[in-house]
Amino acid sequence: MDLLSSVISLGFVAQVLRLMTPFYLGASAANFSERGGVINISVEGFMNLSAFSFAVISILTGNVFTGFILAVLVNLIFSIMFGYFTVSLKINQIVTGVGFNLFIAGLTKFLLVYIFSSSSNTPRFEGLPELSLFKNVPFFGLFLTDYITIFCFLLIFISVYILFKTKFGLRLRSAGENPAAGESLGIKIRHYRYYGIFICGFLSAVAGIWMASNQNSYSDGMIAGRGYIALAAMIIGKWKPVNIFFACLLFSAFEAFEISLQISGSDIPSQLIQMLPYFITILVLIGFIGKTKPPAADGVPY
C-alpha cells in the first residue's frame, strides 16, 4: 500500500526524470558516434572526465559557467584524440575506448590527489542554478527545475531532426552505414566520423556536468557505471532517438522502483530488488524487442 502510493506520486516522477538525465545524455552521445560508424564505449570515461573538470574549474575559478564551458572544451580535446586514434590511425575502436576509460579513471584520481590532496572527492561548490520559470506552474513546477533535464526532452526532437531531416544527418548516417557509397558521392567520410565523435564528446560532457552539479562536488568513481547503462539503453533503443529515450526511461523507472521497494520495507531480499534493472536489460537483450541491428559499418575503420 505504502509502495503503491509512493510510486504514484510526483516525487516518483521527478526522481525517474532525474535518474534518466545522465542515461539519456550518455546514450544519445554514444548514438551520434555510432551513427557515424565509430563505437565509443568510453562514454563512461568521458562523463567522468567532464564531471571532474567541471568541478575542478568551478572551484578554482568560482564560476560554474566558466566551469561548464571549459569542461565541454576539455571533452572536445579528448574527442579529437579519440577521433585521431580511431579514425585517422584506424586503431580498433573498442580497444581505444577501453584505453580511454582506464586512462581517464587514473588521470582524474591522480589529479584529485595532486590538486586537493584527497583521493576521494573535491570540496563542495554550488552547482548550476535552478530554473525558476516553471516554479509556480502546478505539476510541471515540481520536476522542470533543471535546465539539463529540460534539454534532455528537447534533445529527443533535436536528435531526430539532425539525424533524419538534415543533409548533415544523412551524410553522418552514410558514414556509419556504407562509407564506400558515401565517399563515391563525394562525402568526406572521415570528417563526418569526427563530427559524430565531437557531438558524442559534447553530450557526454553535459551528462558528466549534470552529475557533478547535482552532487555539488566530484567524487572518485561517481559515474558508477551509468555510461555503460547508457550504452545498453542505446542498443535496446535500436539506435533511434525516441526508442532510446524510452529505454532510458525504463531503466530509470526500475531504479526508482527499486528504491521505493526497499523503503517500503518489503520482505523481498534487497539483492533481488537491486538486480532488477540489470535483469530487465538481459531480458530485453535476449529478444523481447526483436532483432537489434546496428549501423552496418559500425565499428569498421574506414
Binding site: 506520486s9 564505449i41 577501453v98 582506464l102 587514473g106 552532487q215 568513481g221 558508477a224 523503503i263 537491486q274
Partner: protein, 345 residues
C-alpha cells in the same frame, strides 16, 4: 551482432576491473629480513574511498599522524583504489624491511590480512573492523580491531526518534553486509526503545563495495525517504553519505553522520554523528607495538571505553534539547550495564 556483444562484454570487463591498471610490482624481499634492529615503521592500506573521505579512512590517518607526533614513528600509506589491489598493497608494505606493523582499514581486508599474515609470520598486522568468523582462527600476529557500532547506532537512534516530528526516520547503508547490518540493527532498536511508534525506512545503495562510493544513488534514496515522510536520516555508507547531506540541504531536513564528526559537510543539517574512534584504536595499536606489548587477538571498542559514541558539542547544541540528551545518556547507562541487549540478526 558480434560487435555488440564484444562491446558489451568489454564494457562489463572494463567496469569491473576499472582500477586494476594501477597494480604495483611486488617484490618478495620480505622473507629475508634478518636485520639487527627491529623494524619500527608502520604501514597502512586504505579502504575504498581512500584518503579525504572525511570519514573512516581519514580517522585512521589521523591516528597515524598522532602516533607520528607523540611516539615518533614513521609511517607509509597506500591508497589502493578498488578491487584486487588490496592484497598486493598489503604484501608490498609487509615485504619492506623497515616496516614492522601493517594496518588494513576496513572489513574488506579480513581475508587478505589472514593470508598475508601467514606469509609474513615475523611481521605484525592489524585490521580495523575485522569481520570475525568463529569457525576460523585469527593468526597469532593479527590484531582484530572491532567496534560495537550497534551501541553507538542505538544511541543516535534514540536521538533521531525523540527529535522526529513525523515519527518516521530513515537509514541508508552502503554495501549490504554483516558490518552495515550491525549499524542498522542497533539504530532500529534504539528508535524502537525511545519511541515504539516511530517507523524506520531503510535502504541500501548496493550489494557490492561500490555502494560506498555512489553519492548519486544515495542522494536519490535519501530524497525518496524524505518524500515518504522521514525527517531524520542516519547513514553508514562512507563516501556515498555526501549524497545524503546534499539531499538534507535540498529538503531542509536532518541527517546523522557516521564514523567521524560530519557536521562540517552540511552545517546546520547534521544533527549529530555516530563516531567510531578509529583514530584512537589505530594509535593504541601503534603504541602497543612500539612498547613491544602487541598481543594480537580481538580488541573490542564499545561504549564503556568511549570507542563508540555520539557527537554533542557547541555546534549542534541548538538542534538537540537537553532533555533528549538526558534520555540518551540514560540509554547509554543501561546499555553499558547490560540492561538493554541489542539483538544482531
Amino acid at each position: 551482432m558480434k560487435i555488440i556483444f564484444t562491446a558489451l562484454f568489454t564494457a562489463v570487463l572494463c567496469f569491473s576491473f576499472n582500477a586494476c591498471g594501477k597494480k604495483e610490482a611486488v617484490n618478495e624481499s620480505g622473507k629475508e629480513t634478518e636485520t639487527s634492529a627491529a623494524p619500527k615503521k608502520v604501514g597502512l592500506v586504505f579502504d575504498i574511498g581512500g584518503r579525504g573521505d572525511k570519514s573512516f579512512n581519514d580517522a585512521a590517518y589521523k591516528g597515524l599522524e598522532e602516533a607520528k607526533e607523540k611516539l615518533g614513528i614513521d609511517f607509509e600509506v597506500i591508497d589502493p583504489g578498488d578491487g584486487s589491489d588490496r592484497e598486493s598493497a598489503l604484501r608490498k608494505l609487509a615485504s619492506k624491511k623497515d616496516v614492522g606493523l601493517v594496518f588494513g582499514v576496513g572489513f574488506i581486508f579480513t581475508d587478505d590480512i589472514n593470508n598475508i599474515a601467514k606469509e609474513f609470520p615475523d611481521k605484525k598486522f592489524a585490521c580495523v573492523d575485522y569481520s570475525i568468523d568463529p569457525s576460523k582462527q585469527i593468526p597469532a600476529n593479527v590484531e582484530a580491531i572491532e567496534f560495537k557500532e550497534e551501541e553507538g547506532s542505538f544511541l543516535v537512534g534514540v536521538i533521531a526518534a525523540l527529535n522526529s516530528k513525523t515519527k518516521k526516520v530513515g537509514f541508508i547503508g552502503g554495501m549490504e553486509s554483516n558490518l552495515i547490518r550491525k549499524f542498522e540493527d542497533g539504530y532500529k532498536q534504539g528508535v524502537k526503545y525511545a519511541d515504539p511508534d516511530c517507523q524506520v525506512l531503510s535502504g541500501y545503495v548496493s550489494v557490492s563495495p561500490e555502494g560506498f562510493k555512489n553519492p548519486g544513488k544515495a542522494k536519490e534514496i535519501a530524497l525518496s525517504q524524505y518524500n515518504s515522510g522521514a525527517d531524520i536520516i542516519y547513514h553508514a555508507s562512507g563516501l556515498s553519505g555526501l549524497g545524503l547531506f546534499e539531499a538534507a540541504r535540498e529538503k531542509n531536513k536532518f541527517a546523522i553522520g557516521v564514523d567521524m564528526d560530519q557536521q562540517k559537510e552540511a552545517p546546520g543539517f547534521v544533527m549529530t554523528s555516530m563516531v567510531k574512534l578509529v583514530d584512537r584504536a589505530v594509535f593504541n595499536t601503534v603504541k602497543d607495538f612500539t612498547e613491544n606489548k602487541f598481543t594480537g587477538g580481538i580488541k573490542t571498542f564499545g561504549l564503556l571505553d568511549n570507542g563508540v559514541s555520539y557527537v554533542y558539542d557547541e555546534n549542534n547544541k541548538s538542534l538537540i534539547s537537553e532533555e533528549i540528551i538526558l534520555k540518551t545518556d540514560e540509554a547509554k547507562k543501561k546499555l553499558s550495564a547490560g540492561e538493554i541487549k541489542i539483538e544482531l540478526k
